[in-house]
């Protein structure tokens, strides 16, 4: 457990030089801008979550450049600790980003209310939290798909795969949305989902995510165990 904690710390030290004030300011400015423009916490927070996802690849990229995978062995880290630690680090980074993005968005929306004197502040509702939750879930799904590729191929070779995954998910979303308009079956499914008890829906989503992350972690570990550096 201590080694796992230390590895999460090591991942943080790995990406720390890139958490520059300039980058963080840019991140905050974009989130505030989006929140003011849309009057919605969810859209600002969505942008914030996207930033988090961009950072997610950094430990892999920097690890490859600095030959850190070999370092992990020389400091007596087994491969399970590395894989589990990387997932934990990403989870921590995601949560921090979501909380920060949400807080900064709230500030943005408040500024918007003060500037425009409109009642958009009312949008800080349960609905906004749902949107944020859905966005976070979508990014968790994307990360769960990308991580096994990073562990199997390394950052440089897996980059193309991650771009393809992103395009496939976006295209899939657009296609399903378009198809849903004309399809009674899909409409019925969506209707059933929307009529479900919110708590049950959230529980199903969380359970689904857990299963996905578990499968992703197992695949990553299996791939990483076979890699040599």
């Amino acid at each position: 457990m201590n080694k796992l904690k230390a590895f999460v710390g090591l991942d943080f030290i790995t990406v720390k030089p890139y958490f520059k004030k300039r980058n963080l300011f840019l991140f905050a400015a974009v989130v505030v801008f989006m929140s003011i423009m849309s009057g919605s916490i969810a859209s600002g927070a969505m942008i914030g979550t996207m930033f988090g996802t961009i950072f997610m690849g950094y430990p892999f990229a920097l690890g490859e450049k600095g030959n850190l995978d070999a370092l992990y062995t020389t400091i007596s880290l087994d491969k399970k600790t590395v894989v589990t630690g990387r997932y934990l680090f990403t989870l921590t980074l995601n949560l921090c980003t979501i909380i920060a993005a949400f807080a900064i968005s709230a500030i943005g929306v408040t500024i918007g209310v003060l500037i425009s004197d409109s009642p958009v502040y009312g949008e800080i509702t349960i609905e906004a939290l749902w949107v944020l939750g859905a966005v976070a879930a979508a990014f968790f799904v994307m990360q769960s798909l990308m991580f096994p590729a990073y562990f199997k191929l390394g950052y440089t070779r897996a980059k193309i795969f991650t771009i393809v995954t992103f395009i496939a998910l976006t295209t899939g979303y657009v296609a399903v949305s378009a198809f849903a308009k004309d399809s009674d079956a899909v409409s019925n499914i969506l209707k059933t989902i929307s009529e479900m008890n919110n708590g049950l829906l959230a529980a199903c989503a969380v359970l689904g995510l857990f299963v996905l992350v578990y499968i992703s972690h197992s695949l990553s570990l299996a791939f990483y165990k076979k890699r040599e550096f």
């Binding site: 710390g9 090591l10 030089p17 600095g66 850190l68 370092l71 020389t74 040599e228």
Partner: protein
């Protein structure tokens, strides 16, 4: 236990290259030089010892136990290219690696940085090659390691920096419970520091033993072409013929088989590598 490291029948294949039947020991309290030309298999063998790559066959015993990553805590590692993020400072390096060593000595690390003239706030990418090696050495020596494994640490360094590193290694083995495995193709460093030599060529161990035994095992021979017969040429390893005559290396046990008119001299480690390599190519 008199050996800190025991490598037995190690085998690893990489496409066309095979590290085959690699067997050697690193005795306690001594410096083992690991020599061979580029591509001979030195780095592969070191990566196998450190468990960075998996062996196809063979065994490795470190501190008397079968190799496992956990034992790496007692090993200090210095590789040709530092295993650090380029934007890390020396302070970041300490923060990154120290939690993994139970015997990390913060004060010792600070002392080494001071001794090497390393600015703790300077980034790895801003350091010269020599300074990068010194930063790795500082980290390798700050956790009470009993075995130091260095892969080409002196390549690309000026003679002063190389001498400083050699001094450090000699100081390290002044404790008779500590040993060094020092891979290099700059053999002059080993002539000054190493007690033992393991010589690898084309993935096979050609010699392993005391340095003096290796230097006594071979001799450099020169002479006129008319002085030796075709049969006698077979005893000369890596023979090079030119207008004035020939030169090559011969096992001292075979010296009596050559004519007395042939000039024999002592040989350096560098020459042994060169003649062995040439001999291997001739025999291909």
């Amino acid at each position: 236990m008199s050996n800190i490291l025991e490598v037995r029948s190690l085998r690893k294949s990489y496409g066309a290259f095979t590290l085959n039947d690699v067997t050697f020991d690193v005795p306690k309290g001594y410096i083992m030089g690991f020599i061979g030309p580029n591509g001979a298999g030195k780095t592969t063998a070191i990566k196998l010892i450190l468990n960075i790559i998996r062996a196809d066959a063979g065994s490795i015993k470190i501190f008397g136990r079968e190799g496992s990553p956990v034992q790496n805590e007692d090993i200090g590692v210095v590789m040709d290219t530092p295993m650090f993020v380029e934007d890390w400072t020396a302070m970041d390096v300490e923060s990154a690696v120290s939690p993994f060593y139970t015997k990390w000595d913060k004060r010792l690390f600070a002392n080494y940085l001071k001794q090497f003239g390393l600015d703790p706030k300077k980034k790895v990418k801003e350091l010269s090659r020599g300074m990068k090696v010194k930063l790795q050495i500082a980290a390798a020596l700050s956790h009470n390691a009993r075995l130091l494994i260095l892969d080409e640490p002196t390549s690309g360094l000026d003679p002063v920096a190389r001498d400083e590193i050699c001094d450090l290694l000699r100081e390290f083995v002044s404790d008779e419970n500590k040993s060094v495995l020092f891979s290099t193709h700059i053999t002059s460093d080993l002539e000054k520091t190493a007690d033992y030599i393991t010589f690898i060529l084309n993935g096979r161990i050609v010699f392993t033993g005391a340095k003096d035994d290796l230097l006594e095992k071979y001799a450099r021979v020169t002479g006129g072409l008319s002085e030796i017969s075709t049969q006698q040429k077979k005893y000369i390893i890596g023979i090079r013929e030119h207008r004035m005559g020939f030169e090559g290396m011969v096992e001292t046990a075979n010296l009596s088989k050559l004519p007395q008119t042939v000039l024999t001299e002592g040989i350096s480690l560098d020459e042994i590598i060169i003649f062995m390599n040439k001999g291997a190519k001739i025999n291909e």
